[in-house]
Symmetry: C2
Subunit: 434 residues, 2 copies
């Protein structure tokens, strides 16, 4: 077991260097990382083969084996991702507010990195490079914990990351690998040294993290996404959106789990959707009204709260927009929910009242993704509402500080009326002078 | 004891109405609140006299009695605060990002309220109106818990708040009062219904809240603020800033608790500061080097971590800027820290490396305040780093959602190459159409 207090302290010290490093230095480290990974690819592939052999012996399912694989195709993607990331603008240092408080006293709000971030991710080893590189680009130190079955690959990858940091003059302890569950439990205690935990996993896992740490958590948890077919929906569009949302990839958090259909179009549209889903072998669990127009299993109360991640869909009939909104806000996971309608007033009411990170009008829920949104990579999809919401890229890894610059100003002078507040907004173009 | 599940559910339902109400409706409620408070002032003052009588019998100290008092002066301030708040721009509905994802598919990021917020505040009853009005202005429902000793005043005030909501057509359960510690404990369990807790109080209190809830917490806790007198400091400015930071009000979180002095100016400047502080009856606890140039008590290790909130100051000698930064990042509470120097390079290094919400150059730490910063009122001063940092006004009470508007777009079309990502930034001026 690793000494997490020691690792967190080293991460903290690394952050103090990384946080004041130049964008050029951080981008240089990313570009060098691409080269180091390439030059060490045989070693990385060998480590991955060891993981794959072990996983096969343990009987890992074929989709999981596929996710675990890190071969030349993944290497090419990872390297191209690093180069794109180096090209993105520096997320650090922008001035987002400038106010003259009184004569000679100016307040600036300036974007800065958060500090030390702990990220717990799934079996996909390329996630290690994506997460580490997003953290380095944004000036944060990171403690990484990947899936147990990817341990050898992750060890090879973290070694390459650390080599590229130290060879470009940045502290190698800016990125460190945790190896066991006990390491994770110990990390959760380091609330004096770690600023943020990003757990990617099930609701139960995110809850475990929240229950066992004082460190703020940006959870990436279940997606119980809905598509609501409104009474003013176009039938063809309803079928397209429902089928893509449910079947384009059933095992991901932005796939639809429950379809809500307005009673007014149930008879017209539901059989068409059911027929299209049947072709994809989707099992439908419907309420009584749905069962009167299509052939399906009966839905139970618990179906409304279940993330199937499978070829299963629950269907519920609603009698108003309000009923659809209430169902989604009550049973949903505030991830991504869609309305299909031709009526823009109804769409506006839905988009404003549904309390989710993504609210879609006539679009498949599968679009909820950092790359799709144009953020480059993502460190997770936040299902909470604070700090960052939805797909979380570089911006979610930043915070700000207030820089106040004066000439010996005292509050006593303000209170006595010797000086007056001006509270004058200044142009942001010049930024903060220091 | 109140039924907190029932109260939280009512707050949630109120939020669904409040979150889609117009800025006009919310501002109207604030202006009407000013009138209702005025018309019910006799009742409110009587309730406050009852609290004051009880508090006097219980032997509350005179500064605490002063904070508890809600008379015509406070009423005037509160009413004027409500009118200023109604005048501020609506914090809700702005579009902060607009991107064409592919032809006919547009992503908008739109500011929206958070939901249900729980705020626990100290004895000052005017805080109830400030917090409730900030929440209503930003479209959030709020559960309020004030100090035990202000209970009668708070009951009278919340009744006026609720009257003004219902008389202007907004749900009165948008603002509800908790009355006991048991109510607070019960509120912490309602993580399905409450989105954010803002506890104002000691570190120990904020930790208690964090340890007993899964609800995200924006803590407003201790301030261990520092002033660092650099080797290039102007002596007069050093004295001004140190004296104001320590003595303008000793019992507040943004008062200085530790003074760091560069060894190079210790002999020159420290005796001047000590003389000025002596006039204000400040007890100095210095390290060995400080004790060689001024008369003081010896500082112990525990002094560096203590928030005195009193006429006491610890003084430590440092031998470099780096040592000052390390001391502050290690012992400080990341609230507000100041450097006094004439050297702009040194100032820049300090402001960038000190990991605090406020980093000041030649300014008293007492300026860390939402009103001073020009935010109108504040709901608290966040000492964490996520979501909001430092004085937290309306902006801290908002989040955003992504609205994605298409024409039946499917991810399958994107994956097949039938459609291409354009990721084109659009002007924000038009906002989101729905």
């Amino acid at each position: 077991m690793n000494d997490l207090h020691e690792m967190s302290s080293r991460a903290r010290r690394s952050f103090t260097v990384l946080s004041v490093s130049s964008a050029k230095a951080r981008n240089h480290a990313l570009l060098h990382m691409a080269e180091v990974l390439k030059s060490r690819e045989e070693e990385i592939f060998a480590a991955n083969r060891a993981d794959l052999d072990l996983a096969e012996k343990e009987g890992l399912s074929s989709p999981l084996l596929h996710r675990l694989k890190f071969g030349s195709e993944k290497m090419t993607q990872v390297i191209s991702g690093l180069r794109s990331l180096a090209d993105l603008p520096d997320p650090i240092g922008q001035t987002t507010l400038a106010t003259e408080i009184t004569e000679g006293l100016t307040l600036y709000r300036v974007i800065c990195p958060i500090g030390v971030v702990g990220v717990i991710f799934e079996s996909r080893p390329d996630a290690l490079i994506q997460i580490a590189s997003l953290c380095i680009k944004s000036g944060n130190a990171v403690l990484l914990k990947g899936g147990r079955e990817a341990l050898h690959t992750n060890q090879a990858l973290i070694s390459a990351v650390r080599q590229s940091l130290s060879e470009t003059g940045l502290p190698e302890d800016s990125a460190q690998l945790l190896e066991t569950r006990e390491d994770v439990a110990a990390m959760l205690k380091e609330d004096e040294l770690i600023d943020l935990i990003i757990p990617r996993g099930s609701n139960a896992f995110v809850r475990y993290i929240m229950d066992n740490s004082r460190i703020p958590v940006l959870g990436h948890s279940d997606g119980i996404c809905h598509v609501y077919i409104d009474k003013d929906a176009d039938a063809d569009m309803a079928v397209r959106v429902a089928v893509d949302s449910k079947t384009q990839n059933v095992s991901v958090c932005n796939a639809m789990e429950t379809l809500l259909v307005h009673a007014g179009v149930l008879k017209d549209i539901m059989p068409k959707i059911a027929a299209a889903l049947e072709e994809k072998n989707v099992e439908i669990r419907g309420d009584r009204e749905a069962a009167s127009v299509i052939c399906c299993k009966p839905a139970e109360e618990k179906d409304w709260s279940e993330e199937y991640l499978d070829y299963i869909l629950s269907v519920r009939t609603v009698h108003s927009l309000q009923e659809a909104i209430e169902h989604i806000n009550h049973y949903g996971s505030h991830h991504t929910d869609c309305i299909v309608t031709e009526n823009s007033e109804t769409a506006a009411a839905f988009l404003n009242a549904v309390d989710s990170a993504g609210v879609y009008w006539n679009v498949s829920t599968r679009f909820a993704d950092g790359f799709v949104y144009g953020f480059g990579a993502e460190v997770g999809i936040a299902t909470g509402k604070l700090h960052a919401r939805g797909p979380m890229g570089l911006e979610g890894l930043t915070t700000y500080k207030y820089k106040l610059i004066g000439k010996g100003h005292t509050l006593a002078e303000m209170k006595s009326g010797e000086r007056q507040y001006t509270h004058r907004s200044l142009p942001l173009t010049g930024g903060c002078p220091v």
